[in-house]
Symmetry: none
Subunit: 533 residues, 2 copies
């Protein structure tokens, strides 16, 4: 039983997180991440800025048709332009058109910004804050107010900064979120300023939105909660512009495990490590192994006395039990726990495992392949195939004999890609060729062409995503390449992986798995293993 005080979790990975220069998410990526955030149990998912680009507008259109278990979808936008009323302002109208139940509106708190950036009067700024919020509220939306540069603004002119909050309250804001936009505040400053805001507005609900430019974003968020903020904004893995946003993967366990607050539904914190890796994979960024709580090395212990001490008393060198956040100590990797994982995954995906199936052998194979550069986190279908192949009655639908892929660029004739495949289906050998936009597309086309007469279900599969990660950069083009493929059949999709120093071979392995697994699912009428865990 937990009856601790609830802190609202407002995730902005999909909006502020994507401001990081090397992140670019497709609409599908964003919807997949949103679904996982909803499973985790966050209260708000800020999906984007619908007024700023058509991709975000599409996200909201599709999100509005989906069912959400825990989270409310929030759309982000700025106060209306000074020379307009809210109902004339395209940015405000885009918030309404997004159909998001929550609108988060950012406005200026700092005299410097009002004069130098907005280039208007202090009074006009107060007016557009109040009017923008009041208009959205009157249209039936929940309205959250993000007070941009609040801490810097307060340090310049506390009275004016507080007046902007008063304007937001008059406009109907349900929560006033104090933003450390430039990220340079220190925890005791944040604490003191939050305290001052509480004195002025004792009944207002306050939130905190911190950035990591002084490497204090997590501590600043915690300090704000200690002083009474009831909403924390942040991103998964701390992704964000410059040095990143406050990292929810650290803040949530700090709040729940060390400070006694409730942030997520009971037990859900154990999803955190998986979610952290999932978001990194979808964003095509190498997961940071040294992240607090969720990094692969967060509970890694080196040998000798340390490990001996750990065995006697795990807390001797661990600040928490890693299972609480879904992580594991690296010295206690047991083959049994791995075995259990595989068995429950097989159940989940409807693969009956008779006596005698060598699950431990599959586990060893997974570990050996991971050492070569495979990663099965986003490729359950490849793992399920490894289990299927252990079953005595499993007949692979095809076996590969040969393939070739070539690309030609001839002046005047442009670029051309062609592939050949030779595969065996039962007693038949099929040898065929196809073209494509690139060598992998050509291989995909040739393989389907060879198999379609035998497995018509293939015609409904299509490749919905293709991700490449180069492992260990320093070797340049000789490094190991890992390819993740997502294949879709109607609304269902599944993920497979291949790795090799040769990108074409890596792609081939992932492609062949994706088709083999899709055929098995189609023939057995089971739910496919999701593309991403």
């Amino acid at each position: 039983m937990r009856c601790a005080m609830k802190i609202e979790v407002y995730d902005t990975t999909l909006r502020d997180g994507t401001q990081r220069t090397d992140i670019s998410l497709s609409v599908n990526d964003k919807l997949n991440i949103a679904r996982r955030l909803d499973m985790l149990g966050v209260d708000f998912i800020e999906g984007g800025w619908p007024g700023s680009n058509p991709k975000d507008a599409e996200f909201f259109a599709r999100a509005a048709e989906m069912e959400w278990k825990h989270a409310q979808i929030a759309a982000f936008g700025a106060t209306c332009a000074v020379e307009k009323t809210p109902e004339q302002d395209e940015n405000i109208l885009a918030l309404l058109e997004s159909r998001a139940p929550v609108c988060t509106v950012v406005g200026k708190s700092s005299v410097l910004h009002v004069h130098e950036v907005l280039r208007t009067t202090l009074e006009n700024n107060l007016r557009i804050i109040e009017q923008s919020l009041a208009y959205l509220k009157a249209q039936g939306r929940r309205v959250i107010y993000d007070a941009e540069h609040f801490f810097d603004g307060y340090k310049e002119d506390p009275e004016y900064a507080l007046q902007t909050l008063a304007a937001a309250l008059r406009g109907g804001a349900e929560t006033l979120v104090l933003c450390d936009t430039n990220g340079g505040s220190l925890p005791w400053e944040v604490g003191e300023i939050v305290r001052a805001v509480r004195v002025r507005f004792p009944h207002a609900r306050l939130g905190i939105h911190a950035h990591n430019d002084g490497e204090c974003a997590v501590a600043n968020s915690l300090a704000a909660v200690r002083e009474g903020c009831v909403q924390v904004q942040g991103t998964i893995n701390g992704y964000g512009e410059r040095c990143g946003n406050a990292n929810l993967c650290s803040i949530l366990p700090d709040l729940e495990l060390k400070m006694g607050y409730t942030c997520l539904p009971q037990g859900h914190l154990a999803q955190l490590t998986d979610l952290s890796h999932y978001v990194a994979e979808v964003a095509n960024l190498a997961p940071d192994e040294h992240l607090a709580y969720v990094g692969k090395a967060a509970f890694a212990h080196k040998g000798g006395i340390h490990v001996a001490a750990m065995r006697r008393t795990p807390r001797s060198y661990q600040h928490i039990d890693p299972a609480l956040v879904g992580n594991t100590s690296q010295v206690v990797v047991s083959e049994l726990s791995g075995r259990g994982n595989l068995l429950s995954k097989a159940e989940e995906y409807g693969i009956p495992l008779e006596e005698g199936v060598d699950v431990s052998g599959v586990l060893r194979e997974v570990k050996a392949l991971e050492a070569q550069g495979f990663s099965f986190e986003a490729a359950d279908a490849s793992v399920m195939l490894m289990l299927l192949r252990q079953k005595p009655d499993y007949q692979p639908p095809f076996t590969l004999v040969d393939f070739t892929a070539g690309v030609e660029h001839r002046q005047g004739r442009g670029i051309f890609a062609e592939a050949t495949v030779k595969v065996r289906v039962g007693e038949q050998v099929i040898h065929t060729a196809a073209e494509g936009n690139g060598p992998v597309a050509a291989l995909d086309a040739a393989l389907r062409k060879a198999l379609l007469p035998y497995y018509p279900a293939i015609s409904a599969f299509h490749l919905s995503d293709y991700k490449v990660r180069i492992l260990d950069g320093p070797n340049g083009t000789s490094a190991t390449t890992r390819v993740l493929i997502e294949t879709r059949n109607g609304h269902r999709s599944w993920g497979t992986v291949g790795a090799s120093t040769n990108i074409i071979e890596a792609s081939w392995r992932a492609l062949a798995d994706s088709i083999e697994y899709g055929i098995w699912v189609a023939e057995h009428q089971v739910e496919p293993a999701p593309a991403l865990p």
Copy 2:
């Protein structure tokens, strides 16, 4: 003139930092880093644990022969074994043999650890702390005491934890360093406990040694200094076991620029960004671009209103002037940027632009290519080439005629990749072929083989990174593929980009640009455009 209170800086990159699993430094590496730390002006450089391995013993032998400007070299070791006296203990003797002027001795503060790990009595632990320190002190060394697990030990049994400090003071410790060994403490806990220690030992000099397991190591260190600690221990880039040690690259600017303390000789803070990158290079780790203060992206701004605001008022979106830590603001060239961005980049990279160079044409080309899927954020060299090609006197070093790339997988013969290129250099046409681990490596090899006789500088270039991003997944293998290549020549590197629906063509374009730009730089003796913004 600065007369602010001085905080001692104790760097343990070479000891605790190397506990990170993926760092391994040679003795030369360690001496090189130590020299740079000394130039920066830290007070102590902890070089290793001489009792634990011969590499560390060699480091100290060589360090003892060198001259140090600012820093004192410190050797690390544990209290003597319970059953021995200090003069019988090899670990203590190794500290003396190291000839380091400072010996840092770690001892147990926690009842749990005394009983479970050391397996002795509380009294014995107090005795070995006092005796170990007293012995080293009597041999003429400065002695610092590291109180392991101090905060956890204090929470278990404050009185015993304080007694261990009293023992260290009796032994002659000049500074008592309170260690958050498991890294899970929160800033206000650290503050309160430091305050309690100050009450008990008002005349003792205190230090702080924090780890980042709750992502609060920086804030914990700052909180300890606010409560009177006068020494901060940490590592460059926060390297260290599990989630790392407290990051000096954040703590030093936080203390100097925001809290008014003095840590380094005046003006030396401006060396910090270079040092951060240097240590990453020596450790063979990719520098984290998003590190506070010293990351390449720490002051990176995207286009539009943000950049316009920045030009008017730099502090509008920056918490400090980046020059104070030796970093620079980056205005990222992207579809959002304007003419001004390009002109200032050309200046930065030493490309003189005469009248008549069509900068606006290049800007239009950047935007058109970005719409196709290129991204120039990490590929300044490709942009610089576009400008160069506008200059009437620019002669491209080579032009492409044809290329082919093929991959064959034949059963029994494994996988094989081969490429051919035909290029023109002046009046010559060179047509050649090469093999590689994959099609891109083969193309790279063939292109270099063709050009090397004409441009020997190429032999010093090597491909240091190769990144592939598939844009907007829904089209699977027919989606646009973007390839970013980083090429290195000694310590310099530059970035180029290619995009196409065909991964081979995208790679080819990035490869050809990387070599063309490298040749231009080599012939013009200018600083190459950095690989990443």
